[in-house]
C-alpha cells in the first residue's frame, strides 16, 4: 500500500493539483444484477480498513436501500416515485427523468465534491441499475464528461461472471462494454464479479486466446450465415481487450480487492498519459475555433466601421 502511495505522490507532483494525494473518480457501471452496489460496499469497507475512506455518491434514484452511507444521494434531491406520478411516467421514464433533474443541479454537486477533494482519495459513483439510463442518455454523458474533466476518472464495468459464462452471452456483454468505452473514452477496468461462484478463468482464456473463443462460439452456433459475422465481431473484441484491464473480484468474499486497486492505479496512469492530453487538445481546438470566430467578427466590425468613417450616417 505504501508503494502505491508513493506512486500517487509522484503523479500528484506532475499534475497541477496542489494536494499531496491525487483524488480519483471511479464510476461504477454494470447491468442490472451484476452486483455494482454490493461491490461498491466491498470497496467502501476495504478502503475504510485502510483508513482512506472514500467519498460516495449514489446516482441510482430507484434503489430502495443502499448498504453504505452515501455522502451525496440523488434520492435526497429527487423523489423517484413522486417524479413518476407528477410527470405520469413508467418506471424507466421515472428513473431517466430523475437523473435528468439531478443533472440540472450538477454544478452545485460538483462544487460540494470539489471542496472535499483534498480530504479523500477515492470518489465512488454508483449508477442506476438499468445500465442504458446512464450509458445512452444525455445526463449520463454530461455526468461522465464533467467528472472526467475535474480529476482522473476511471470506468469500472462490472460483469456478472456466472451469467456471462456462455460464449454468446460473453460476446454480447463484451460488445456492450466496448460501446461504453467508445462513449466515455475513459480508462476502463473490467471487474468480473461473483468469482466466488464462478471463477473468471474462462474469460481470461477467451480473451487471451481468440481462437479458443471462436471455437467455443462456433460449437454453439450452427447457422453458417452468422459465423462470418461472429468471426469479424471477435476480431473487434480482440482489439478491444488491448484497451482495458481485467480483474476478478468477489463482492461477497472480498477476494481480488488488492488486484482491483492496482488496476485502478494503472488506469489513472493511462488517464494522464492518454486521456488528459486528448482532452487538452480538444479544449485547445475549441478555444482556437472560438478565437477564430471572434477574430472574424472583429474583422467584420472593423470593415463596417471603416465604411462609415468620416461620413454622415443616416439613422
Amino acid at each position: 500500500m505504501s508503494a502505491a502511495q508513493t506512486d500517487t505522490e509522484k503523479a500528484a507532483g506532475t499534475s497541477d493539483g496542489g494536494s499531496t494525494e491525487e483524488a480519483v473518480n471511479i464510476i461504477m457501471i454494470g447491468m442490472a444484477g451484476s452486483g455494482k452496489t454490493t461491490l461498491m460496499q466491498r470497496i467502501n469497507a476495504y478502503l475504510h480498513e485502510r483508513k482512506t475512506a472514500p467519498y460516495i455518491v449514489n446516482l441510482d434514484p430507484a434503489v430502495s436501500k443502499v448498504p453504505f452511507q452515501a455522502n451525496i444521494d440523488i434520492r435526497d434531491t429527487v423523489d423517484y416515485k413522486q417524479v413518476m406520478t407528477e410527470y405520469n411516467l413508467g418506471p424507466n421514464g421515472g428513473i431517466l427523468t430523475s437523473l435528468n433533474l439531478f443533472t440540472t443541479k450538477l454544478d452545485q454537486v460538483m462544487d460540494i465534491v470539489d471542496k472535499r477533494a483534498g480530504d479523500h482519495k477515492y470518489f465512488l459513483y454508483d449508477t442506476p441499475g438499468q445500465i442504458e439510463i446512464f450509458t445512452w442518455s444525455a445526463s449520463g454523458a454530461i455526468i461522465s464528461n464533467t467528472l472526467a474533466a475535474t480529476r482522473p476518472t476511471v470506468v469500472v464495468y462490472v460483469v456478472d461472471t456466472p451469467r456471462t459464462a456462455s460464449p454468446a452471452t460473453f460476446m454480447s456483454n463484451m460488445m456492450y462494454a466496448c460501446s461504453i468505452l467508445y462513449k466515455t473514452q475513459l480508462p476502463f477496468v473490467l471487474a468480473f464479479n461473483k468469482t466466488d461462484v464462478v471463477s473468471h478463468e474462462f474469460a481470461l482464456r477467451w480473451m487471451e486466446d481468440f481462437e479458443q473463443f471462436q471455437q467455443a462460439l462456433m460449437r454453439q452456433e450452427e447457422e453458417r450465415f452468422m459465423n462470418s459475422l461472429i468471426h469479424s465481431m471477435s476480431l473487434v473484441l480482440d482489439e478491444f481487450y488491448n484497451n482495458l484491464r481485467v480483474v476478478g473480484v468477489s463482492a461477497m468474499t472480498g477476494q481480488g480487492m488488492d488486484e482491483f486497486f492496482k488496476k485502478i492505479q494503472e488506469a489513472v496512469t493511462e488517464y494522464h498519459d492518454e486521456f488528459k492530453p486528448t482532452l487538452q487538445r480538444q479544449i485547445e481546438q475549441k478555444q482556437a475555433a472560438e478565437r477564430e470566430q471572434k477574430a472574424e467578427q472583429l474583422k467584420q466590425l472593423m470593415q463596417d466601421l471603416s465604411v462609415t468613417e468620416g461620413k454622415e450616417v443616416d439613422l
Binding site: E132, W136, M175, C178, Y182, V236, P277
Partner: protein
C-alpha cells in the same frame, strides 16, 4: 428493439400508419410489460398476460427484477403467445420489445422468442433503433454500432439498424451523418482516429472493417415526417426478411429487389 427513449414505439406507430395508408395488413404485438399507451391498439398485448406494475406491486420487485420476472413468466406461458399469434399466421407483425439490454445479453429470453417465432413459421427480422442525437461524432457512431451488434448479434435473425429522430437533427449534422449511412471504412477509421487517442486506433480499424463487411451493422436514417424515409426503412426490413427466407431451401422465392435510396 433499442434503448429506452430511442423511438421504438413511435417507430411501430409510424409503420402502422404507413401500412394502413398503403392498405397493407399489419398487426402490433406489444411485448413490453411496462408500456404505457398506444395510438394504435395492439392486437396482441403481453399486458393481458402480465404487467410490470402488477409484478412490482404484488411481488415487491424493482423495475429490473420485475421486467425479468415478466419475461420468465412469458416463457412459462408460451402457449398463450402461440395461441394469440395463431390468428395472424400470414400477416405482417410488428413486435414492440422492451429496451433493457439485459434481456438481450444475459438472459436468452429474446433469443428464445425469436427462435420460437421462426419455429411457428414466421419470417423474422429485428429492427434496432438508436437516437440520432447521440451520434455527434464517429466515436459515438461506433458506440452505437457496438451497442446494436451486442443486442442483435446473438439473436440469429437478420436485422436492420435504424437511426431515429432524424427530423430533430440540424441540417449541418445531417450532412455530417451522411458518411455513416453510406460508409467508407477508410474515412471512418481516419475520422475516428481524429476524435480518439492513439490507443484506440487499432480498434477503430477493426470496427470500420466490421462495418464495411456487414451491411447489417450499418444504420439507416429515419425521419418519421418524411413518407419516403419510412418507405425506405420498410423496404429494407422486407428485404431482410426475404434474405432470411433465402436461407430456407424450400422457398423458391422472387428476386430480391434493391431498395431505392430516397433522398
Amino acid at each position: 428493439m433499442g434503448p429506452a427513449g430511442s423511438g421504438k414505439s413511435t417507430y411501430c406507430q409510424t409503420i402502422m400508419q404507413h401500412c394502413e395508408a398503403a392498405k397493407r395488413r399489419v398487426h402490433l404485438v406489444n411485448l413490453d410489460p411496462a408500456a404505457e399507451r398506444f395510438e394504435y391498439p395492439p392486437s396482441v398485448d403481453i399486458r393481458e398476460l402480465i404487467t410490470l406494475e402488477d409484478v412490482m406491486d404484488e411481488l415487491g420487485y424493482g423495475p429490473n427484477g420485475g421486467l425479468i420476472y415478466c419475461f420468465e413468466f412469458l416463457m412459462e406461458n408460451l402457449d398463450w403467445l402461440e395461441d394469440q399469434l395463431g390468428d395472424y399466421e400470414d400477416d405482417y407483425l410488428i413486435l414492440d420489445c422492451p429496451g433493457q439490454i439485459e434481456l438481450y445479453t444475459h438472459i436468452p429470453i429474446m433469443r428464445q422468442v425469436a427462435h420460437l417465432l421462426q419455429q411457428w413459421n414466421f419470417q423474422v427480422v429485428g429492427v434496432y433503433c438508436l437516437e440520432s442525437q447521440f451520434v455527434e461524432d464517429t466515436s459515438k457512431y461506433f458506440a452505437g454500432v457496438m451497442s446494436a451488434t451486442s443486442a442483435m448479434g446473438m439473436l440469429e435473425i437478420p436485422h436492420i439498424n435504424v437511426m431515429t429522430k432524424m427530423d430533430l437533427v440540424s441540417k449541418e449534422l445531417r450532412d455530417k451523418m451522411e458518411r455513416y449511412f453510406d460508409p467508407d471504412p477508410l474515412l471512418l477509421a481516419d475520422d475516428a482516429n481524429k476524435s480518439t487517442d492513439n490507443r484506440f486506433h487499432e480498434l477503430n480499424q477493426a470496427i470500420a472493417t466490421l462495418i464495411d463487411e456487414f451491411s447489417m451493422v450499418r444504420f439507416l436514417p429515419l425521419n418519421i415526417r418524411d413518407e419516403d424515409s419510412v418507405a425506405y426503412i420498410l423496404s429494407h426490413a422486407d428485404n431482410a426478411i426475404q434474405w432470411g427466407e433465402d436461407q430456407e431451401p424450400k422457398e423458391p422465392d422472387d428476386d430480391v429487389e434493391e431498395a431505392d435510396r430516397s433522398d
